[in-house]
């Protein structure tokens, strides 16, 4: 498995500004295309490259718990503001890199890379 890890070809989220999420599809539209709410319902979800929390907050109503992580601290701050504004309680946002996720093994049932990879 380490041979896979060593073959890094770039950084996630380097070229797409995280705060451009207003121009992306509505989270529920995206979720519907992927298979709808059953994909998320009752699950522990990680939104990797969460930006301003567009998708994490959009799917939070179905999930048990949602974690959002993004390398851009400004985007994470915006996500936290948006969560407070929306009154969403089961979402937590963290600044961090995808290559070193601050979560234990097998912590999630669903990981979303939306416009990230």
């Amino acid at each position: 498995m380490s041979s896979v890890a060593n073959d890094s070809v770039g950084d996630l989220g380097r070229h797409v500004p995280a705060l451009s999420s207003a121009l992306r599809p509505h989270p529920l539209d995206e979720l519907r295309e992927w298979g709808g709410s059953p994909l998320v319902r009752g699950k522990r979800v990680l939104d990797l490259g969460c930006g301003d929390g567009r998708l994490a907050l959009g799917v939070a109503r179905f999930a048990t718990r949602v974690e959002g992580i993004d390398p851009d601290p400004a985007a994470v701050a915006a996500a936290k503001r948006n969560a407070r504004k929306a009154g969403v309680r089961n979402v937590r946002f963290t600044a961090g890199a995808a290559q070193h996720l601050p979560y234990p093994d097998a912590a999630f049932d669903l990981v979303i890379l939306s416009w990230t990879l």
Binding site: D7, V9, R24, E33, L39, A98, Q99, A106, L113, W115
Partner: protein
């Protein structure tokens, strides 16, 4: 990218699902004018060379982790998404500033037509692809 996908595999419970969704650069995007009913194609918007290379790198990364037995492809598809603009100038500004696309559309209508409808609403219609991958139990 691959090391990030290995991290994703680590934090996913066996049988957990990874969703990879991103713009589909294998097909062009379109600049369209909004009409009372429907849309009229005004131009083709190609993906920048840099982003095409990034997308191919992402594809290779996914293929590698599938080949290595970390994930199994379960389902995928594509849908279209429209980004709205209040007029043609706003669309052009977006293209000029946006890193994913080339900075100018290849127009399929003449200058006179573009000028005539410059204040109409426009959209960029682009394809979004997605894939669901199941995390397989670690072999170590």
């Amino acid at each position: 990218m691959v090391d990030a996908l290995v991290e994703v595999h680590r934090v996913l419970a066996p049988g957990g699902i990874l969703v990879d969704a991103r713009p589909d650069s294998r097909v062009p995007a379109y600049a369209e004018r909004r009409k009372p009913r429907g849309f009229q194609r005004y131009g083709v918007v190609n993906t920048s060379r840099l982003e095409l290379a990034n997308d191919r790198a992402s594809d290779r990364a996914i293929s590698l982790v599938v080949r290595e037995g970390l994930f199994k492809r379960t389902r995928g598809g594509r849908f279209w998404h429209r980004v709205p603009f209040s007029d043609l100038a706003e669309l052009r500004k977006y293209l000029w500033e946006h890193l994913r696309f080339v900075h100018r559309a290849e127009w399929v209508v003449g200058v006179a037509t573009r000028k005539h409808h410059a204040n109409d609403q426009f959209v960029i219609r682009r394809a979004v692809r997605y894939e669901l991958l199941e995390a397989l139990p670690s072999r170590i």
